[in-house]
Subunit: 334 residues, 2 copies
């Protein structure tokens, strides 16, 4: 492999001069610079980043912990992360955790073993829990999307409670009183906050909360399909269903249609996320739009700030805006 020494020989200068020419061209004499640059291209020299990393003790890599890469919403977040990282000179080490804590901790080891400089966690859990960090050090991590209440690091999220309240109010405004909810995983802060928003709206409208109208799920198409089946099998089925993800909403709509009912004629359905498929579902889905890519770019920016010593105290807690998108899947009840 052609290294800096070869280039130095070729240019008739010292390795230090080659290094300087490449890193701070302005401090070498123009004539030397020309010689060196010519030698660099003559030799087809590319700096060995392993050595650079080793020397500088910085990999310029970020680990990203994703519960499910194939989830359409997360895929958009990852796109945002990758674009922002690339733009700031960082690589992205992608890890699919399936929401498993042990797996997350194992991947977090990439930071403690210096394979990456920092980590972005898209789930509400601290993967460094078991890792030892020198006291007084800031955790090289940012928490995004599903955020810990007391995240020991910067975080980016949505005001899920307000968003869920907005969506529920939309349904109530249409005249619905029996509004079901297909939720995310029970222990997720996402679920907790959105349920809180849902209850806020019910309460404000004087509608009693009925726990037979809530059903847990896991954000997938299958979960929505199944949950809609049990909800519609109730004695007094709901006239509207609020799903905590668009995927569940699409699954739910399909189940309702297979029961011979119509959306929104018999049941209104609303989702959360605004994925691309939601504009093309039948009917198009009413939902809460989240700025998925922005979660990624914001998380990257905050993490790099942290890594490069531009972090602030207290850690920033960014809340991104949502938007209610009304489409054809919601209408007044019969």
């Amino acid at each position: 492999m052609t290294n800096i020494r070869k280039v130095a020989e070729l240019a008739g200068v010292s390795v230090a001069t080659v290094s300087r020419t490449l890193k701070s061209p302005e401090i070498v004499a123009p004539s030397t610079r020309a010689k060196v640059l010519e030698a660099v291209s003559a030799a087809g020299y590319r700096p060995n980043l392993m050595a650079v990393q080793f020397r500088s003790q910085r990999t310029h890599n970020l680990v990203v912990l994703v519960p499910a890469i194939a989830n359409v919403f997360f895929a958009r977040v990852i796109s945002g992360i990758q674009a922002a990282a690339q733009q700031q000179g960082y690589g992205v080490l992608l890890c699919n955790t399936l929401g498993d804590e042990e797996t997350e901790e194992r991947y977090a080891g990439m930071v403690t073993t210096r394979k990456a400089d920092g980590l972005i966690q898209l789930r509400a859990s601290n993967p460094f829990g078991a890792h030892v960090f020198p006291a007084g050090t800031v955790l090289p991590m940012v928490n995004a999307c599903e955020v810990l209440d007391d995240a020991p690091c910067p975080s980016v999220k949505l005001d899920n409670r307000a968003a869920a309240r907005t969506l529920t109010e939309h349904l109530i405004g249409l005249g619905h009183r029996r509004i079901a909810m297909i939720q995310g995983p029970r222990r997720s802060p996402l679920t907790r906050d959105r349920v809180a928003g849902y209850r806020d709206a019910l309460e404000a409208a004087g509608i009693a909360f009925d726990d037979r109208l809530v059903h847990p799920g896991d954000f997938t198409l299958d979960a929505g399909f199944e949950a809609a089946g049990s909800l519609m099998a109730r004695g007094r089925p709901p006239t509207a269903i609020f799903c905590e993800s668009d995927e569940m909403a699409i699954g739910a709509m399909q189940r309702i249609k297979r029961l011979g009912l119509s959306v929104p004629g018999d049941v209104s359905v609303a989702g959360f996320d605004d994925i691309a498929f939601s504009s093309y579902s039948d009917p198009p889905l009413t939902t809460i739009a989240q700025p998925a890519e922005a979660f990624g770019t914001q998380a990257v920016t905050m993490l790099i700030d942290l890594l490069e010593g531009r972090g602030t105290t207290p850690a920033p807690r960014v809340v991104l805006p949502y938007e209610l998108v009304v489409r054809g899947s919601t209408s007044p009840p019969r």
Copy 2:
């Protein structure tokens, strides 16, 4: 940071012994081993992978070039890649290229600058085109999904021609004669092979190819929606549409329904990929199922074989199986 020297001091042995204890425990005396392991855990020692990489000249990272991370099919391939890489001790550096050649070449630089050991390319293009490799070296790369005809490296793909023929035969078998096709990008080998399969089937059935029935697209929902609009506006619209991706098929179905027509009553629609949404579309989509995750795991295995000197000549060209999945979106024409 606690390094191997600290551990050696703590255990009262040399750094070499610590290294050996960690790499080949069996060659150190049991008593020494115990001392060292204790020191390791007492010091909370984690080997510095930057140094290991530098020393061994191997990063154990793979670069993955994806045209579009947010594409549901690719997301599944990436899941497969990540799982296999992780399992074999490699990290995945994910790069979103948007199909841009310059971007691909820039990312390929991660291999020439030794930030990664090898590369998986999911598009039919050699990103090392402009990079200089020592003559006689094998390119540290594998080409998957959309594969170059003369890929200078191992490859994994589908028999797209046969799959497209199978799907077209299904439509012909139902009685369709005017079968449109919404294609992928014009210059993609995927498009070329699938069009060839489509024409094979037409020809075998004695149906003349009509180029007014083919329409280019780019695999997205939007493209399917638009293309279906123009196809149905023809004087003699098709009775069936074969879409080169499920996303385009879902977009097309939605457009057809908005025209007041029914699927499959007025027009049958078929897709390609078998993404999760296709089971939940209305009607559920007839399609060609591809083993998306398997593309990823196969690509990783071949690449690591190559990197670790287990590559074979000639380079393996793997063809994965497809399956026709018949659902409700196709039926005999009126």
